[in-house]
Every structure is written in structure tokens, then in C-alpha cells.
């Protein structure tokens, strides 16, 4: 690879205190997920809440623990592109095979 990780690495990483705060938020979001699961709400609403909370946890880990918020944009695209391809393929397959709403 022409451009090594160290060459494009940013030193503006969070400190231990910020890591602990993010860890606490992740724990709370997991608690909310389970709470939503056991609530007597309509299933469409619960699925929406669960997917939103899952996405929030995913973004927090990627942005702060994997440092994508602070690193070079090349790494961001190396990660985001396959994620977009995969999610699009997944939704398209489920729609084609009629399993999206099951």
C-alpha cells in the first residue's frame, strides 16, 4: 500500500475519560434495546426503535473506538463503501424474496 496507516494517522484520539463515557452510553443503549423489546408497543415501532439503537451503537464504536471520526477519510471510505454495498444488497435480496416484512 502506497500510504501506510502511520502516515495518515491522526493523534487527536479521545482520552480514557471519553472512552469510558462512550462505553457507558453503549451500555445504556443496550439496556434501552432490551427495554424496548419487552415493552408492549406495536411491532413496527419496536423494530424501528431496535434498528435505530443498533445503528447508534454501531456508529459510536466505529467513530470513537475505531477512531474513524478522527482518522484519514481514506479509511472512512474503505469501511463505509462495503457497508453501503452490503446493506443495499441485503435489503434488495429481502425485498426480492419477500422476506422484508416477515
Amino acid at each position: 500500500m502506497a500510504m501506510g496507516h502511520a502516515e495518515v494517522h491522526s493523534d487527536h484520539h479521545p482520552g480514557p475519560r471519553q472512552y469510558l463515557v462512550v462505553g457507558g452510553v453503549l451500555a445504556v443503549l443496550t439496556g434501552l434495546e432490551v427495554g424496548a423489546f419487552f415493552l408492549n408497543l406495536t411491532s413496527a415501532l419496536v423494530v424501528f426503535i431496535l434498528l435505530a439503537l443498533t445503528a447508534a451503537k454501531f456508529v459510536l464504536v466505529v467513530a470513537f473506538f475505531m477512531h474513524l471520526r478522527f482518522d484519514n477519510r481514506l479509511f472512512l471510505w474503505l469501511f463505509v463503501f462495503p457497508v453501503v454495498v452490503m446493506v443495499s444488497t441485503m435489503v434488495a435480496l429481502m425485498a426480492l424474496l419477500d422476506t422484508l416484512t416477515r
Partner: protein
Amino acid sequence: MWAFVGSDVLFFGTLIAAFLINRGKGIGPHEEIFDIPVTTLSTFVLLMSSVAMVLALAAIQRNDLKGLRLWLGVTALLGAIFIGFQMVEFTIFAREGLTPRTNIFGTTFFTMTGFHGAHVAVGVVWLVSLIIASYKGHVTQARSLDVEIMGLYWHFVDIVWIVIFGVVYLVGALGAEEHHASAISLVG
């Protein structure tokens, strides 16, 4: 490492897609056998292992070797506990009649979670080898990138589980409950 993570996104994405498009197919146990409180606990363990991993990185970046070993050890221990949870879960499912050969749900579920567990196991071995390397003087502040790359792998394993827990376990078990309720109302 980012190129590897990108390719592994496609790998796990394919396994999750295979699971989702085959939901509810085949005779035998399905999502109703999930134990959500227990899986929540194992999810919490894996999330906290990610916190320990970033604390290990922060430690080596300030040249704190003791802190590095402590947090790498905590990360490896929590990873091993997660694998233990998964082994217990697999054993219970097998006792209740769900194996990879039972139905398409079992095949896709065990393939997806089994590959994830294998990734966690590889991560634990990598963490232990980093601890050993630190005692031999191979892990230093100047070479903290080695720890950061290990961390990228570990956090990737964590985000894959975040998706599996949310989409497969919670949403899946919710669908199974609804299916069960509608079956009861039809009988009633």
C-alpha cells in the same frame, strides 16, 4: 487492516443476509428458543471488552506498560467469557433440538454466530500474544500502532455482534413472538 475490515464486512454481511432471507423456513425450533436476557449479558460483556481494548491503547500511548497488560488481559478475559456464553447457548440449543442440520434456520444461525465466535477466539489468541510480546519488549510506545491494529480487529468483531444482537436476536425473537400470538388467535 481497514482493507481487511472492509472485506470482512462483506463476509459477515453475506452470512447475515443468508440468515435473514431464510427466516421462518424449515421444521423445528426457530427464534423462539433465544434467551434474550442471557444474550443481553453476553452482549454487555463484549461491549465492555471494547472499552478495555481502547483503555489498553490509551495506556501504551502514554508509555504505561502495566496498564497495557492489565487492559489487554481484561479484554482477553471478557472475550473468553463471551465465547463461554456462546458455547453454553449452543449446547442448550442442541439439547432443545436445534443443530446446524435441523433446518435452514439452524444452518444459517450456527454458521453466522459460529464464524463470529471463531473471530473472537482468534482475537483472544492475538491479545494473549500481545501481552507475551510486551514482556519481551516488542510492544512499546513507539510501536503503539500494533495495539491499535489489534484494537481495530477487536472493535470490528464487536460491531458485528451489535448487528447480530439487534437484527437477529431482538428483531428475530420479536417476529417469532408475533407469529406465535397469531397462531394462538387462529386456533382460538
